[in-house]
């Protein structure tokens, strides 16, 4: 028996980065896609102070579809992880 389970450690780091940094990055990508289009561009060129505008949806159809895909992938990933944890987390009792 070793003091440190290296397999578990690297799994936690790698999957931690994928889920913990990758999924929010995907969400950010979704926000970016959502912001594409004329509406956000107009507020910017009109010289409105950026800090005051909280317009999020740019109006580009492609952008909105891409954003929807990104958000759905994130929800699916969360749902799948919860299911995995449930199945892994109920081991048969030790004899």
């Amino acid at each position: 028996m070793s003091w440190i389970n290296l397999t578990a450690l690297w799994k936690i780091i790698v999957f931690g980065l994928i889920a913990g940094a990758g999924l929010p990055a995907l969400f950010a990508g979704g926000l970016y896609a959502l912001s594409l289009g004329p509406k956000t561009a107009r507020t910017a060129t009109a010289g409105v102070d950026d800090g005051d505008s909280d317009v999020l949806v740019g109006g580009s159809v492609v952008g909105m579809v891409l954003a929807a895909i990104a958000f759905l992938v994130i929800l699916a990933a969360i749902g799948w992880s919860v299911y995995e944890i449930y199945t892994l987390g109920h081991p048969a009792p030790k004899k």
Binding site: A19, P24, T40, D52, L56, G89
Partner: protein, 384 residues
């Protein structure tokens, strides 16, 4: 040895611990959402409470570690468990009084180890299990969480750099709520199991269950309830330290921190590591400060926390050992009852002390002025 009166008392004390665990740790999930204004404080704690309840049913891996991986179950009596719980609760309440987000898990584990050592000597502690499943994860998990959160923060700002400031804040507030919910779920999964493990340990000690058993369903339900009620009441003092004291947080950082915490906690629970959600959440918040240019981490606050972390295991162990000494000295059922009366009295005293510098949902977000108690005039900031 079978003694049902003591068993009932131990179960009640364990649930009381679970309750303190809930309110000590609400901040881990919700502090950043409350600090950035993504959620109103009371809504935040209500959502967190419900998700903690659900999370408690997800996994039993950590409960198994606590029930059979840390102390030799043969040497554990109900008195040992009761004294250990007393150690855990007292340390939890003291750190809450000072607004320090210390680890509830370490308080619990420390308490049980202290009382076991007092009862049966050092050989009854499974040192290998303690180091490999508790101490090392405690050291590594905040570092991993900080790394993940720093990467996440950097990516989020990079990807959304063309968005308007307001649009970004708005979008990430929504994301932050989602990620905070997953952290609450993870907290229920990881932390409620610790109490399940202890109650299982008590049932084994009493002969009600055989060694190596899983937690029975009624134990899971009671623990889920206790932790979710505790969470709902909200440990505003700790929320304040985490949300305002460490780093001034914007919503993208909040989302990065919470996603990192959720991922690390859920992955570790799956491997049966009883790591501290508190350590992970703190690591993430510091990481998110490191990942953004120009963000300041208040290292003095971080240092104070780290000190409390180091002391948590041994201090709770000492309180656990003293409690065992009292119970053993008096002897029998009355000894256990006396310890629990002392525990209740001390808890009441700490609660009374906390009223003097009250932190609640009204002033939780007041400007940080160097301590957990907001200054006398937080009115405008609290209303905002």
């Amino acid at each position: 040895m079978s003694n049902d009166t003591v068993l009932v008392l131990v179960v009640i004390t364990a649930l009381a611990f679970d309750f303190t665990n809930g309110f000590h740790d609400t901040g881990n999930a919700m502090a950043t959402s409350i600090a950035t204004g993504a959620l109103p404080p009371r809504v935040a704690v209500a959502i967190s409470g419900v998700l903690n309840f659900v999370g408690a049913f997800l996994s039993l891996a950590v409960a198994a570690t606590i029930a059979s991986g840390l102390v030799a179950t043969g040497d554990v009596t109900l008195t040992v468990v009761a004294a250990g719980l007393a150690g855990g609760i007292i340390w939890n309440l003291l750190t809450w009084l000072f607004g320090i987000p210390s680890s509830s898990s370490h308080a619990l584990i420390g308490g049980v180890i202290g009382s076991t050592m007092a009862a049966a000597g050092g050989s009854a502690v499974l040192w290998h299990g303690l180091v490999s499943k508790v101490v090392l994860p405690a050291v590594l998990s905040p570092v991993i969480a900080a790394l993940v959160a720093a990467c996440g923060t950097w990516l989020l700002y990079r990807i959304t750099r063309s968005l308007t400031e307001g649009g970004r804040r708005h979008g990430f507030r929504i994301g932050q709520i989602g990620s905070a919910c997953v952290v609450s779920l993870a907290h229920g999964t990881n932390d409620a199991q610790k109490t399940m493990g202890v109650i299982t340990l008590a049932l084994i000690a009493n002969g009600t269950l055989t060694a190596g058993s899983n937690a029975p369903v009624w134990v899971i339900v009671c623990c889920a309830l206790a932790i979710s009620i505790g969470t709902y009441l909200g440990g505003w003092r700790v929320i304040r330290t985490l949300g305002k004291g460490l780093v001034e947080i914007e919503s993208p950082q909040g989302m990065a921190a919470e996603s990192a915490s959720a991922a690390v906690i859920l992955l570790s629970s799956t491997f049966g590591y009883s790591l501290s959600t508190t350590h992970v959440a703190t690591g993430s918040i510091i990481g998110t400060g490191l990942g953004k240019k120009g963000a300041d981490v208040r290292w003095s606050v971080a240092g104070r926390m780290a000190t409390a972390w180091v002391f948590t295991l041994p201090s709770a162990a000492i309180v656990g050992a003293i409690s065992y000494g009292i119970a053993y000295g008096v002897g029998g059922t009355f000894g256990v009852i006396l310890v629990l009366i002392l525990l209740a009295a001390l808890s009441g005293f700490i609660y009374w002390r906390s009223r003097a510098t009250k932190v609640d949902h009204n002033n939780v977000n007041s400007e940080w002025t160097g301590g957990v108690s907001p200054d006398k005039v937080p009115v405008e900031t609290a209303a905002a």
